[in-house]
Amino acid sequence: MQGSNLMTDVALKSRLDKRPIQEPTSWDRLKVNKNWLGLWFMLPAGAILMLFLAYPLGLGVWLSFTDAKIGRAGEFVGLENYEWLGGDSTFLLSVFNTLLYTTVASVIKFAVGLYLALLLNERLPFKAILRAVVLIPFIVPTVLSAIAFWWIYDAQFSIISWSLKQMGLIETNIDFLGDVWNARWSTIFANIWRGVPFVAITLLAGLQTVSPSLYEAATIDGATPWQRFRFITYPLLTPIIAVVMTFSVLFTFTDFQLIWVMTRGGPVNATHLMATLSYQRAIIGGSLGEGAAISTAMIPFLLAAIMVSWFGLQRRKWQQGGDND
């Protein structure tokens, strides 16, 4: 009896102690307003991206219309930089190199990467370790592996030349980075070497979501391995292929590190990409305006590449279980 009294007392007391209900002030309302809160939550990321990404992006386009040099603000010169570049054979060569580099490297990266992903998707001993090892070229900083390639491609002491000579396949050393086309293929190979793990591991993640029963059903229907790849694996993989290849093309097109470490654009500008040429003209040569024009000229190519892979291989409704589109 006494116990329950006590309890009611406590309950009443706390009820009585409660402050009268207050009208929420406008400050209280603001504190839970999601737009107001959102503003504060977005502030750190927004400030950094505005100051160091959006503003420079706009500034770059503006600089490309000026004759700015290092240490001197430029004057507006209209399209002069672009007109000049249009007649500059080095720039046109760099555009050709970039397109060649991107196309060849991306196609081979896709083919080898997909093949490697299919191999890794098989029943294998030590599968986890294998997958971890495959990704190592992607982990190691590009510059450091590029230096290793530089040594492997050495004109005099290349291990590849030596091995081929021992096998009796060639007579003299291959000049990997000194000859125009050799240098192009050598840098493309290094780029493929670095890019394949990324393509393979991301595609493998996609492959692992494909149900084995689909393959079983197709096999019972008499499908050949090629048909199973063409009509099951490939269609189910297209969304992820689109994204992976968009990234791959984007990063290959704007590559700088590999080329800069191995050839600096040489021999006779044969491996200059647009990125390395813009660095050479703007930072080493000092003509910021001209360098910015080369960088800006990359943007349409990039947009085109993104559009092609994005819209060309877009997600289809039936891939998510919807009706055919």
Partner: protein, 309 residues
């Protein structure tokens, strides 16, 4: 049952179409393959690709411990192995050059830039996914687009900006510019993780009177720890790998990061420079490889997660 399967595997004729097991068969049917067949279609190509992928690292490691006389003379000494490894190159690198300072610079810049980016990205991702303020979807899309802006078209205007802000040739130039690469990526990744956390948990907390900040730190973040680790590791790797900003914004050797310093300060005319160059590349890669070895799963999920969204 297992016996019959084994019998079928042993005798391909009994199976409907045993020769179909190409490289795309997944676990469901791989028991149909005979060993010789797997050897040719699977182990051989896989082995070949692995050798090509790993050879540069083997060559790098071997070169860094070879004595000078074996370094360039392939005909007297077998180039693929050495019986008397030396630490001369590594010693020279660590004690005769500024390599430890470069390593420290890289570590400092990578840690600070990563921490800053993760802080900003957590707030931004939470706001986009859960506060859903007006225009949040558009901001999410804009952040994805920012991820597609490559550093090599930004470095020229950014160098003038860095100069204007008075950051040129200081570590802050890198600490503040690296987040432009990291924030879009980690925000995108964390948005994916935050979306998987049930709404109900947050609703309960709101009814109990928690503020948004309390919900973020006490409910969302503890549940998103795997995502945070993934984002952290990936950002750290990207920082370590970054080259063009560090090359452009830093001019004094003292502030350089490992990738830039190796290319600009370590390359000299010495014929035997390869030993210390390779040692530099090896030691520069080790921290990342060790980090990676401990967090492989997080790393893979970061890479695929960011792509899949």
């Amino acid at each position: 049952m297992t016996d019959t399967l084994a019998a079928k595997a042993a005798n391909p004729k009994t199976v409907l179409n045993a020769s179909v097991a190409g490289p795309d068969a997944s676990e469901g049917m791989s028991y149909l393959d005979s060993l010789p067949r797997r050897l040719v279609t699977l182990y051989l190509p896989l082995g070949l690709i692995l050798v090509v992928l790993l050879f540069p690292f083997y060559w790098m490691a071997l070169t860094s411990v070879k004595p000078d006389e074996q370094l360039l003379d392939f005909d007297v000494y077998s180039p693929f192995w050495t019986w008397n490894p030396t630490f001369k190159h590594i010693h020279k690198l660590l004690f005769d050059t500024e390599y430890p300072i470069w390593l420290w610079n890289t570590m400092l810049v990578a840690t600070c830039a990563t921490a800053l980016s993760i802080f900003a990205s957590v707030l931004a991702a939470y706001a986009i996914v859960r506060l859903r303020y007006r225009g949040a979807q558009w901001v999410g899309g804009a952040i994805f687009l920012a991820y597609l802006v490559p550093p090599s078209i930004l470095f020229i205007p950014l160098s003038t900006v860095v100069f204007q802000y008075g950051l040129f040739d200081t570590p802050f130039a890198l600490i503040l510019t690296y987040p432009t690469i990291l924030i879009p990526f980690s925000t995108w990744l964390l948005m994916g993780y935050f979306k998987t956390i049930p709404f109900e948990l947050e609703e309960c907390a709101l009814i109990d009177g928690a503020s948004r900040w309390q919900i973020l730190t006490k409910i969302v973040l503890p549940l998103a720890i795997p995502g945070l680790i993934s984002a952290f590791i990936f950002c750290f790797t990207l920082c370590w790998n970054e080259f063009i900003y560090a090359l452009t914004f830093i001019s004094s050797t003292h502030y350089k990061t490992v990738p830039v310093a190796i290319v600009t300060a370590l390359v000299d005319g010495d014929v035997y420079r390869w030993g210390s160059l390779m040692a530099g590349a090896l030691i520069g890669s080790l921290p990342l490889v060790i980090l990676y070895a401990f967090f492989v799963e997080h790393y893979v999920s970061a890479m695929t997660g960011a792509v899949k969204e």
